[in-house]
Amino acid sequence: MEFFFEVLIGGLLSGVMYALVALGFVLIYKASGVFNFAQGAMVYLAALSVAGCMEKGAPLWLAVILAFVIMTLFGIATERFVLRKLVNQPPIALFMATIGLAFFIEGLAPLVFGSEPRALDLGIVDEPIPYFLDQWNMVISKFDLVAAGVASVLVATLALFFQTTRVGRALRAVADDHQAALSIGIPLQHIWAIVWGVAGFVALVAGLMWGARNGVQFALTFTALKALPVLILGGFTSVPGAIVGGLIIGASEKLAEIYIPPVLAGWFGGNFGGIEGWFPYILALLFLLVRPEGLFGERHIDRV
């Protein structure tokens, strides 16, 4: 039983990391209807910026600030030079533009900061927490717990921002009905630039966590793919959905990895390791068939 909980908790904590990436998608999709394929590349860019600045001698805090500036500028530039030109184009055109953007980042960032994989040391050691080990005989990673804490703080901050500030309210208004927002004088482009800036910030936090855990390397761009099943589960427009979706994916893939292969092996014989890699997609696919709008997908209010 301890083992079950150990796997479950480990899964939930890693799910938080998925949620972090999914959150970036949700923000942009909600506010501008753009599915930002480049979110994964942005995570990579953020991690690379931090690692690159540290290599050039900056202390961690400075590197994070510099990366924050880079990500914000990058977000604003994207809105200004790519998306603004494409206003009123069909969503597929915008989607294609973000694919182009992803390749652009993936090509340019290594030119600036170098492409070799490297470690990112945030000063949090990835070791079991003694308390859980002694009391419960469970291996719970200290790093995962810290990452989950950081993500929670980030989400709480974003929620406060959306609920209580003037810009946050305007952001939600734009997400609801951008034509109406325009008509009452909310400058859409301004708002979209802010959204891209915030998405850049979220990518930075995700990049820090993922980079520190898996190393700063090209494979970080694939974290975006892990966010997809999270989005399908949680709904593309829901911040709580991204979090719950992330938790479900994280927990279920770890549990599946442990408990399903023996069953399959019992039926068919052979080795069924590596389920973790594809289980989330199957789960998402099944989910799509049952509830296409996701767990928390915004219901369309149809009343006139």
């Binding site: 309210r169 939600r172 609801d176 009905d177 008509s183 009452i184 004088g185 209010i301």
Partner: protein, 272 residues
């Protein structure tokens, strides 16, 4: 009829609007809104009322529409190139057809978004809210409901209230009566009249509901197929035989002539 003494706040001079580069919808529309007046823009569905209002607010671009000729002036200055944001800052705001409240925001949040362009302190915001609630007591009771779940009348009030938060001098109000029960329509129009007389807000009111619009307006224009076909004081229009017959359904019976047949055709066009 056109007294040079009245100050023309908003004037539109022979504007032409084309959608999608090919569909000519407004074919030279001119109209004026004097300071402190309510002006009605009347006409059947598809006549071009909404297009006219959107042309003024510069909201056509999002619908692939373009103003290709003519000019729009506000207080003597051309405003055709200003963004909606700048227009709202100058005091011209639009309440779009179909209300367009932010469905997932509460009524109060909707109102607050209306003040986006205004640099207001917390206290001033509260004051403005109270003022809106004063005009729309119904909104106060629904302040924390999601706008998407309120009634049509409440949404219309919310949309007007939201515009009020921007401290406007001129409201372009598109089809406020649409889909509302007659007594709610009267309620909304009474508030419009109040806002006009007490706050001095001028209105350009696009309406298919000729009867109600002419009851509250000072002046009216009738639009047909993208052209102004008639204009006059509201009282004059109300007693005009053509308008009576075509729009108010009050024909004085027994006068059937060729002219009436011609009129009848026109009426059919207006009503189709």
């Amino acid at each position: 009829m056109t007294t040079p003494a009245v100050e023309h706040y908003l004037s539109i001079n022979s504007i032409e609007v084309i959608y999608d580069h090919v569909i000519l919808v407004l074919k030279g529309v001119s109209l004026n809104v004097p300071k402190g007046k309510i002006v009605a823009l009347l006409g059947a569905n598809g006549a071009g009322k909404s297009t006219t209002l959107k042309a003024i607010s510069n909201l056509l671009r999002a619908e692939r529409g373009d103003v290709t000729k003519g000019s729009v002036e506000y207080k003597g200055q051309r405003i055709d190139q200003l963004s909606p944001n700048e227009l709202v800052r100058r005091g011209v705001i639009q309440v779009m057809e179909g209300r367009h409240c932010f469905g997932h925001l509460t009524i109060e949040e909707n109102l607050l978004t209306g003040a986006y362009t205004q640099p207001l302190s917390r206290g001033q915001l509260k004051e403005k809210l109270e003022k809106v609630y004063h005009y729309f007591p119904r909104l106060k009771t629904r302040r924390s409901s999601q706008a998407g779940y309120t009634s049509g009348g409440e949404q219309q009030m919310c949309a007007i209230g939201r515009a009020l938060m921007a401290q406007p001098e001129m409201i372009l109000l598109d089809e406020p009566s649409m889909g509302l029960a007659p007594q709610i329509v009267e309620e909304v129009f009474e508030i419009v009249r109040d806002l006009n007389s007490r706050e001095g807000i001028s209105f350009l009111l696009a309406e298919q509901n000729t009867m109600v619009a002419l009851k509250y307006a000072d002046f009216g224009y009738i639009l047909e197929n993208g052209r102004v076909v008639m204009e006059g004081d509201a009282g004059e229009l109300r007693s005009n035989e053509d308008v009576k017959e075509f729009y108010l359904g009050l024909s004085s019976a027994g006068r059937k002539s060729f002219r009436d047949i011609k009129h009848y055709r026109r009426r059919k066009r207006w009503l189709s």
